[in-house]
């Protein structure tokens, strides 16, 4: 492994067949660091904007988002089960279905808010709600693409694809819980 050369002037030859798995996972972790920074920046904007505005009116959370959250949690858990027992395809299908359900639920939540007359322009809290959920939603769509790819990619890439996609998907789940707390837990 090349990292071991940090200590030894001349380490053993790179023999680990899963060394490209390590590369994939490292790339994914770095990508998640960048995504984390994106949402950190949104958070700081949220906090500053909230503190400055005397007319800040928090929008109540659309009820359906409880179901959405549940769907995303189930999706994450079932993906983890699949990652550990890869013979049972059903778990992957469940994970994918729950992911799609989450997106559908989010679209519904948006429409619900719009029908109540809550738009980007007339309420700063709603503006952040739309921005944060849209940014998260786009990342979820990317995640669904990755989950779909697990069974499609060539056999030799499948393992590391699954590992990297799982990492990403769990991160998106955790990010979602954080966003819920930010948007509705602090009011």
């Amino acid at each position: 492994m090349s990292v071991s050369t940090l200590e030894l002037p001349l380490g053993p030859p790179p023999a680990d067949p899963r060394v490209s798995l390590r590369t994939s996972l490292l790339g994914m972790k770095l990508a998640l660091a960048a995504i984390g920074m994106l949402f950190t920046a949104f958070t700081s904007a949220y906090v500053v904007r909230h503190a400055l505005d005397p007319d800040w009116h928090a929008v109540p959370m659309p009820r359906i988002m409880i179901a959405n959250t549940l769907a995303l949690v189930i999706s994450s858990l079932s993906l983890e089960v699949y990652r550990r027992h890869r013979q049972e395809r059903l778990w992957l299908t469940l994970s994918q279905a729950m992911g799609v359900l989450f997106v559908a639920g989010q679209v519904f939540a948006w429409r619900q808010l719009q029908s109540r007359g809550v738009y980007l322009s007339n309420n700063p809290h709603a503006a952040f709600f739309y921005v944060l959920t849209a940014a998260h939603g786009l990342h979820i769509l990317g995640g669904l693409f990755a989950l779909g790819g697990i069974t499609v990619v060539a056999q030799e890439r499948r393992f590391r694809w699954l590992e990297a996609a799982s990492l990403y998907w769990h991160f998106m789940g955790a990010l979602w819980l954080y966003l819920l707390f930010l948007l509705f837990g602090m009011n």
Partner: protein
């Protein structure tokens, strides 16, 4: 299985498109980035010529230019709005498409994998995407230049609320500014892909024996720069998304209540213009180091090579790069001393800013110590690296002055600041690029650039940039504000007009001298002296392979590294340099 084979199963492409256009080869991508930067720098220079014309001859009408830009001249001298548009686009194009693309994505893409002994970047497809995404960003930026209503006028920092209110904010603030924001957002995405690749490649794809502390300082600089890019660009992206929504979605993230523009009362409320400044500068300050750190790496590398001496205090150099990178995240407030910031906060930012001086001084003194008693070879690359050191000191010293909030209150938004950042960030980084170009050109194209013309280019450039930017310090100290097209109505500035004339003439001569470089670049492609593998008798891995390198860099040989990056003039050794891949017994 071998690490490189595992990560790179693609074969050498044969078709023209796959080989030169949509190539996944890091070397081709590096050259693509350099070409993009060359086009961008030409556009940026033309814009600066237009500005300098206006400043040197404030009332001249330039019928020929009026013919080309009928709206920009509107029957008289260049309009102030057109001047601001030129200023905005000059800054944006130079900072993003030249100072970020050439030193980091250009040379970094080409030489980082080779220097650490990898056959390609960790994610070649993503690498290809990063270039083409950046290319699209550049095209969109050029569209902003020609947008209906003109190019944006809000400066490269796009301060809100001006940049957020839309067309009502003035000419160019409609479609032009919207395209500007979109371009920057796309650029962020491209830069993130590059950063991701650089970090993964360094951490996971190094050759056998290439421990971190055997990496050349160039690779260390690219690595640190990639960390900065990875963590800074998402913040700009977030700011850009919010700004775009303020512009097209009717939100009020940055637009305060009660704003009246052009006699129209805006309905927005509660937004904070300062929020944009915080988001922008949290990115913006690391961005300054994204531009300059690769230049520092190149300079360390070249000073050592052409002094025939090891870099003085290699470990301290690595530490200093990291320290500068780290501190760059906690200094952004020094751009905002005049924004109504609490004096206590200003003091904190002032202290962190001055702290940058410590690692910077470490680097400078180590450069001087590297030169000390060396057998210096004054090649073009060496001259430009020495020029880099000179400019880095000249521009850095004024940074320490501007870091004092009390001094900054007077100097803020004057030409003193323009002088400071052009020398330290603009010209020093450009000198780093030139040094790298003269140094690596033989490796990239197999032929040497013409040294004689290179030296003419160097002296015109060095004397030229000092003639341009030194007088600007005096303009600033005399209280001359920046960004104005014309201040001839102000008596206290009238006596400074000859200085403007001098600066403009110096600028025209210096810019004309760059033709020598472009000529040398293209002439040497065909007519330059054949370079051989290692014309500079250098030690790092790229000089152990043919020029230009083959598709997978190392051919059938797996590089094994036995030596540190700067083993020059080792006592008792057969030659005055030991290459990193030389067998262990090369060092007696």
């Amino acid at each position: 299985m071998d690490v490189h084979v595992a990560a790179h199963q693609h074969e050498a492409p044969t078709g023209f498109v796959r080989k030169y256009i949509f190539s996944m080869d890091h070397k081709v991508i590096g050259i693509q980035y350099l070409m993009l930067a060359m086009v961008a720098v030409t556009v940026g220079m033309i814009l600066s010529v237009l500005m300098r014309l206006r400043l040197a001859w404030p009332l001249e009408k330039w019928p020929m230019l009026a013919h080309i830009f009928p709206e920009g001249f509107a029957g008289g001298p260049m309009t102030p709005e057109f001047y601001l548009a030129m200023l905005t686009m000059h800054g944006t194009i130079m900072v993003f498409f030249v100072l970020t693309t050439a030193p980091l994505s250009g040379f970094g893409n080409y030489f980082l994998p080779i220097q650490v002994g990898a056959r390609d970047m960790a994610f070649p497809f993503m690498n290809m995407m990063s270039f083409w995404v950046t290319f699209v960003a550049f095209v969109v930026m050029l569209m902003a230049l020609f947008a209906t209503g003109g190019a944006p006028i809000a400066g490269w920092t796009a301060y809100t609320p001006l940049s957020a209110v839309g067309a009502i904010g003035g000419p160019g603030m409609g479609a032009g500014q919207t395209l500007w924001v979109i371009s920057i957002a796309i650029f962020c995405a491209g830069s993130l892909l590059t950063a991701l690749n650089f970090l993964t490649t360094v951490l996971n794809l190094r050759a056998r024996g290439m421990s971190l502390m055997r990496m050349p300082l160039t690779s260390w600089a690219w690595f640190t720069t990639a960390i900065l890019a990875l963590l800074a660009f998402p913040v700009l992206l977030a700011g850009g998304v919010l700004l775009l929504l303020d512009r097209v979605g009717g939100s009020s993230f940055f637009i305060p209540a009660g704003l009246v523009i052009s006699d129209k009362h805006l309905t927005n409320s509660g937004g904070s213009p300062l929020l944009w400044q915080h988001l922008f500068w949290f990115f913006g300050h690391p961005e300054v180091y994204i531009a300059i750190l690769p230049g520092m790496g190149v300079t360390s590398h070249i000073l050592s090579t052409f002094s025939r001496k090891p870099v003085f205090a290699y470990k301290a150099m690595v530490g200093a790069i990291f320290a500068i990178g780290f501190i760059s995240y906690v200094v952004w407030g020094h751009h905002m001393f005049m924004s109504g910031m609490s004096p206590y906060t200003a003091m904190a930012f002032s202290i962190t800013t001055m702290a940058v001086g410590v690692p910077s001084a470490i680097k400078t003194f180590n450069w001087l110590a590297t030169l000390w008693k060396g057998q210096i070879r004054f090649t073009c690359a060496m001259l430009f690296s020495l020029g880099f050191v000179s400019l880095f000191v000249s521009g850095g010293v004024t940074g320490m002055l501007l870091a004092q909030p009390a001094v900054d209150i007077f100097l803020h938004d004057t030409y003193f600041v323009v002088a400071h950042f052009h020398i330290i960030m603009g010209v020093a980084a450009i000198f780093g690029i030139f040094a790298g170009m003269y140094y690596w050109y033989p490796k990239m194209f197999g032929r040497l650039m013409h040294e004689g013309w290179g030296k003419v280019h160097f002296w015109f450039s060095l004397v030229g940039v000092y003639c341009i930017f030194m007088p600007m310090h005096f303009l600033g100290l005399a209280g001359h504000p920046r960004r104005y097209a014309q201040l001839t109505e102000f008596k206290y500035l009238l006596h400074l007009q000859p200085l403007h004339l001098f600066i403009s003439i110096a600028a025209f001569i210096t810019i004309t001298a760059q033709v020598i470089f472009f000529f040398n670049f293209f002439w040497s492609l065909k007519k330059g002296k054949p370079a051989g593998d290692n014309p500079w008798e250098s030690t790092s891995l790229e000089w152990s392979i043919p020029s230009p390198p083959p598709f997978d860099n190392f051919g059938p040989i797996e590089p094994i590294v036995h030596h540190g990056p700067y083993e020059y003039s080792v006592p008792g050794a057969a030659k005055d340099y030991i290459m990193q891949t030389d067998p262990p017994e090369a060092r007696p």
